[in-house]
């Protein structure tokens, strides 16, 4: 029996068991992961897996169950559990499954060649990447290199006649190393992930960046507690942009638990900030033809020159807000209910090179590492651990570690005063270098 038939049959079965509406989500996947260290294999793991998620509505109430056993009896019993649960939960007029709207396919989500590439070659890539990275004399230890691949097929069917599926793949190779100098240790790592094996970045470039990240932070110096400009390197952009995304989550907005809930069509951020979510980019790691409940997924501007243009919705949150789903239902596999998430998210590039931004900063922090939770989406507080480089007279003076940065999200986002032109569009969550005019920095 093929998976489409199975999904349709399970929808019919759910209706027969007494559900008013049924959604079946089937996912099967295969993965291989190889980890090497000190020029030898450390671990090899491989598996194929799959399962079914059942979402049912009974008198407006919702139940969900999942099972990784494809035995007919197991599937039936799991379905009945979902229906029994739905009889216990509270009826909610906004519970609904989407209708069967047409979607456009996205080019390049699945590389059929990955599985056929010799495993020896994949192990070799990880070994070569480690070897290249360790060639840098400033690197003293390897934490290991790895190769991973993943491919999956998902099928969604529901009782509104929806039946959709697609296949996707991804692969990655990465390395992590240590630079030790006396009692000091610093780690550096870099990886490259793509949908297609042939698109992985050249190993020598990945290696050079990983090595540099390890040694460039040695011999840090402390700076005093002060207010100063902070330049966000692209690798830490998520700590700020992620807070915006969390705050425009439709469920959170509906619950009155977002610092941006009343900011629709208002300029809450600097006009240098434009954020776009694009599900349609060919070969994009976050691309998909439809979202986690089968709604077509699009390209959409979320923030335009600092003005909030819209929230992120799935079918439930949209109905409750009195609007249409934006195709942002996320799905963490067959064991999870739909949530809300983005596809390929990027901040639009600006005018300046990163070098120009640094040169224009008399004294301040170039931030390359952050720790902590980022922006608190409920109240907009922001506080985190910080590391990077101290800038004096428009030039990098020395590395800094063990600092803190903090402020209110609105002040920080309004304070973006330079936007870089260096956005890496191969990532699914990305922004160029940008500068905040002034933040509180905690140090000695």
């Amino acid at each position: 029996m093929n998976v489409h038939d199975l999904a349709e049959r399970l929808v019919r079965r759910g209706l027969r068991f007494g559900a008013d509406d049924v959604e079946i989500y089937v996912q099967t996947s295969r993965n291989l992961s190889v980890r090497v260290r000190n020029a030898d294999i450390e671990t090899i793991q491989e598996a194929a897996s799959g399962g079914v998620g059942f979402r049912v509505l009974v008198n407006g109430s919702m139940g969900f169950s999942h099972c990784n056993d494809f035995n007919e009896k197991a599937l039936d019993e799991t379905m009945k559990k979902a229906i029994a649960f739905a009889r216990l939960t509270t009826p909610d007029e906004f519970n609904a499954l989407p209708g069967n709207l047409p979607h456009h396919d996205v080019e390049g989500l699945y590389d059929p060649s990955i599985a056929g590439i010799d495993t020896g070659k994949k192990i070799d890539m990880a070994l070569e990447l480690e070897e290249l990275t360790m060639q840098d004399a400033r690197v003293t230890h390897s934490s290991g290199a790895s190769f991973g691949e993943w491919e999956s097929e998902m099928v969604i069917a529901n009782s509104h006649g929806l039946l959709k599926s697609y296949r996707s793949s991804s692969c990655s190779v990465g390395v992590s190393v240590v630079a030790q100098k006396g009692d000091q240790r610093n780690t550096g790592g870099r990886s490259t992930s793509r949908r297609f094996f042939a698109d992985l970045e050249p190993l020598d470039e990945v290696a050079a960046e990983a090595a540099k990240r390890a040694w460039e932070m040695l011999d840090p110096q402390m700076v005093r507690t002060q207010r100063a400009p902070v330049i966000y390197d692209p690798r830490v952009a998520r700590s700020l942009i992620g807070g915006i995304i969390s705050a425009i989550n439709g469920d959170r907005v509906n619950q009155g638990a977002s610092f941006l809930q009343d900011s629709l069509n208002e300029p809450f951020a600097s006009e240098l900030l434009t954020i776009v979510d694009d599900a349609t980019r060919a070969r994009g790691l976050g691309s998909k033809p439809f979202d986690g409940e089968g709604m077509p997924a699009f390209k959409r501007t979320l923030v335009e020159q600092g003005v909030l243009k819209g929230f992120l919705h799935n079918t439930y949150s949209a109905k409750r807000a009195g609007t249409e789903s934006t195709g942002n239902a996320s799905r963490g596999g067959f064991t999870r209910l739909p949530g809300i998430g983005t596809h390929n998210l990027y901040a639009e590039p600006g005018q300046h090179t990163p070098e120009q931004i640094i040169a224009n900063t008399q004294r301040g922090l170039l931030l390359t590492g952050v720790t902590g939770y980022g922006i608190n989406a409920v109240n907009g507080n922001y506080s985190g651990g910080a590391s990077g480089f101290w800038i004096e007279n428009g030039q990098i003076a020395h590395p800094v570690q063990g600092l803190t940065i903090a402020g209110s999200a609105r002040d920080i986002l309004q304070g973006i005063d330079m936007m870089g032109n260096d956005v890496d569009m191969s990532l699914s969550f990305t922004a160029p270098t940008f500068r905040i005019r002034e933040m509180q920095i905690g140090g000695a």
Binding site: M1, N2, D40, V378
Partner: protein, 509 residues
Amino acid sequence: MSKHHDLARLMPRRKFLEMGLKGGMVIAVAPPLLSKMISCSGPVTAPALDMDKASLDRVISRALQHGGDFADVYLESRNSRQIIMEESMFKSGLYGISQGAGVRVIAGDKTGYAYTEDITEENLMRAADIASYVARSGKPIAPVNIAETKRDSFVSVVKPLEEIADSRRIGMMQRANQAALDYDPRIRMALIDYSDQVRSRVIANSEGLYLRDELPLIFFIVQTMSDDGSNRHMSRERISEHSGFELFEKETPESVARRAARESIAMLDAEDAPAGMMDVVMENGWGGVLIHEAVGHPLEADNIARGIGAFTGKVGQKVATDVFTMVDDGTLPNFRGTINFDDEGTQAQRNVLIEKGVLKGYMTDVLTGRQLDLPRTGNGRRESFRYIPIPRMTNTFIEPGKDRPEDILADTKKGIYVQSLSGGSVNSVTGMFNFTCREAYLIENGRKTRPIKGATLIGSCLGVIQSIDAVGNDLDFGPGICGKGQSAEVTAGQPTLRIRGINVGGSRA
């Protein structure tokens, strides 16, 4: 440096690969075996873990067909449920069945692993073939035939979860929700998350071990959000144990909810936190997550075996102040981090990691025990059959000291009083850690005064344990989820303590 390291080096990697490929073994296997997965069948009524010992013996022998030092088979079945209540509505009920089994081979420093979700001898044989790929050098190894093994249990159940009607679970959630909303009109919303599971495990290995048990687990989380028109605060309280439904007799849903609501209201008046180095007093309980992150993870033996961990080579050395003793103990009765035996079958035990400031040892699993020539400490844990075991904490805490908590506070002129934490993380190679305060106050002249907004605290693990200068007599614990590529249920505990000088991420000077 690991003791098997030099052996592994002797074989150049090219040679290794050649041997592997000439052996006819291609591990990147078939594309998703959809049709096969769907047609596979076994009677659902037969408990998936009932595989007989002779079959398991055959699988372990097959896993060591090309040599190797150790092999094990792990069978798992998990029934889980979760009920979510938000805004006074039961939004969803989730029920899940998950089962599978994995075969692992250790050969020197190498690990091979494969798993299947359809537990048959045939599939396990195939997994054994894949896992054995890492052991190609030696001749077949004869494992010891498995036999029932005895282990002490630290988990007792009075009211088994399987016998509890869902309506009773819902009843507990309703009680928590009502108590939160009744606490204060400024509590705008409560989010109640009830989950429980029963995880059944079978572990068999080439040393002849065979174990089977069942671990129940309840996790009850109450979050409350306050809103007074100008400020908002979301707080969270959790209880969790490996136990039956009697957990709610030890602590009522109302008391969990009121604790969360109290914090939500108290923090409405929070003002900006100061930035920079200052003294911190941490209240007893879940604040132990500081030590879990800052010291616990770096004492897990995997990065020690790799020779890159922050505490590498420091056993026997004075690494902390005299008042500091730290323990990981997987035997505390019914605690969330308690496991009876770890996921490799090693008996859980009390491990003193740092005693009066002196580093005593690391937390190991089978692999790192072999690599470092250390005993197994019962810390080899795995999220599920989809993961290999790695060294993890269980219940980790600082032993109580002599100071009275009120004296520690009174003796602190100026600083921050941290009452609850959201969580944190650490880089266990550099030892840099961070954690985020949820409820915190200024200390002025030895008194807790105004509440301050959630600030990040950061420091280095070797620095922080040399700066703890007062430890209270009031040890308490909190339950948590620990992530390290895979998740594990843990508790963290500590008495009230003081850290002299830690960097606080406030938004004002």
